[in-house]
Amino acid sequence: MSAVFRVHVETLDPRHLYVEGELDIHSRSKLDEALAEAGPFQDVTLDLSGVTFIDSTGLNLLLVADQAHRNGGSRLVLFEPSTEVARLIDLTALRPRLIVETADHRASGRDPGPASS
């Protein structure tokens, strides 16, 4: 039951974090650290396709980070949220408040990220 949680940081173009596993109270500090390293002054893409579980603590973290980036004049893009993440975002009607992008939606048509299927 312990969280399988990994964060990859790609240094190409915008910073690209790939989150895999469970995003809840037990794992949020890891993502917190990764986001702090990137800082709120540049765009960061958070690939959420590998998130298997998210709870209110995880969603709260995304909201806080999103606000930090807005304050810093940058964007936090939630990329390809998994079914679980999308379900929570829609249940709470927060899609318009966050920046959510999917692979088909991307003008650049870049690779959707590692092992998302």
């Binding site: 039951m1 809840d24 109270i25 579980f53 709870d55 209110s56 603590t57 969603l59 709260n60 909201l63 806080v64 606000q67 829609d90 249940l91 709470t92 009607a93 927060l94 408040r97």
Partner: protein, 341 residues
């Protein structure tokens, strides 16, 4: 506590007697070891009983040390050691009792304070019957990041079930902020939408930016139920053979993030039950990681028996599923309408 006290008291007496008899009939001296019986008693018994066992042991020390003619210096030394040991054992026992009393007082204070947040529900209001179960994910706590309340107002019975982000004790202050805001607004606001607006502004004033709470509000009048769903998991109507999930036409944000729910209306016919819960219930996992199947469990537990029995069964099923370890707080609230004849 009582039981431990009895066991250590009788155990101490037995140990003293046993060692004294070995000393009396054997070839080795066990006089100093009699102190072990006194120490055993002091583990859980009150000072009075420790002193009693001590006096008994001391009697044996005196009796065994005196061989009919005179006392040796060795015997006198043992006597002093045993007396010293008994005094220390009595002091230790008294200190332990004092700490225990302080702990009981603290626990009582904590319980009263927690009850102020989650008041027991009335079982009936006119022809509305309701029951609730609350489980905190924090060990030893009654409250957590979930909150419920029911208020009888001039607009009907108003109920709140809410879940603030985060869980356990760290979320208690946010949950109480929300519950108190509801308690006030339920009596002063004419519509559920206004209640939500009042809670929204009260909640935002007192929590961190981006903190939020999902909430479900009910207004029950006879068999008619109005529902305001603020980013909360869908409640369920339990029919005889199926479970109907009540999804709002448009989803509203949680409280704290600008919630403005559109009301749903429901006619709760006699024999049907409405179940409102927090996601701690549906996201409870078994040791292998699978979620609690609420639909199946609800059909199994909630259709028959009194509301209390039904919720007890549901909680038993939950307990079995999770093997007793909860990751998040849980509320299960059930309501039914039984028209009076």
């Amino acid at each position: 506590m009582r039981r431990a006290e009895q066991i250590t008291f009788l155990g101490g007496l037995t140990l003293v007697s046993l060692l004294a008899l070995i000393d009396l009939f054997g070839s080795m001296s066990f006089v100093g070891a009699l102190l072990l019986g006194v120490l055993l008693t002091s583990l859980a018994a009150p000072p009075r009983k420790v002193a009693l066992v001590g006096a008994y042991a001391l009697g044996w020390v005196v009796a065994l040390g005196y061989d009919g003619r005179y006392w040796t210096a060795e015997h006198a030394t043992r006597f002093v050691v045993v007396v010293g040991g008994i005094v220390l054992a009595v002091i230790a026992s008294a200190a332990r009792e004092r700490q225990h009393r302080a702990l009981v007082r603290t626990a009582n204070v904590a319980e009263v304070a927690q009850r102020a947040l989650l008041r027991p529900l009335a079982e009936h209001y006119d022809d509305v019957e309701m029951a609730v179960r609350y489980l905190s994910s924090s060990d030893g706590a009654l409250v957590g990041g979930d909150a419920y309340d029911a208020e009888v107002t001039r607009w009907g019975l108003r109920v709140l079930i809410a879940d603030v982000c985060g869980h356990g004790l760290e979320a208690v202050d946010r949950a109480s902020t929300l519950a108190f805001a509801f308690r006030e607004a339920a009596h002063t606001c004419e519509t559920l939408a206004e209640v939500v607006a009042a809670m929204e502004s009260s909640f935002r004033r007192s929590v961190n930016h981006s903190d939020y709470a999902t909430a479900l509000l009910l207004e029950i009048n006879g068999g008619t139920v109005k529902i305001a769903n603020c980013g909360h998991p869908d409640p369920a109507v339990i029919h005889q053979r199926r479970v109907e999930w009540l999804s709002p036409r448009t989803r509203a944000r949680p409280i704290g993030l600008g919630s403005s729910p559109t009301l749903q209306r429901l006619v709760l016919a006699p024999g049907k039950r409405l179940l409102v819960y927090t996601d701690g219930l549906t996201e409870a996992r078994d040791p292998a990681g699978s979620f609690f199947d609420l639909e199946k469990q609800a059909l199994g537990s909630l259709r028959t028996g009194s509301l209390d029995q039904a919720l007890d069964q549901l909680m038993t099923a939950l307990h079995e599923h999770t093997d007793g370890s909860l990751r998040d707080d849980v509320i299960a609230f059930a309501v039914q309408v039984t028209p009076k004849r």
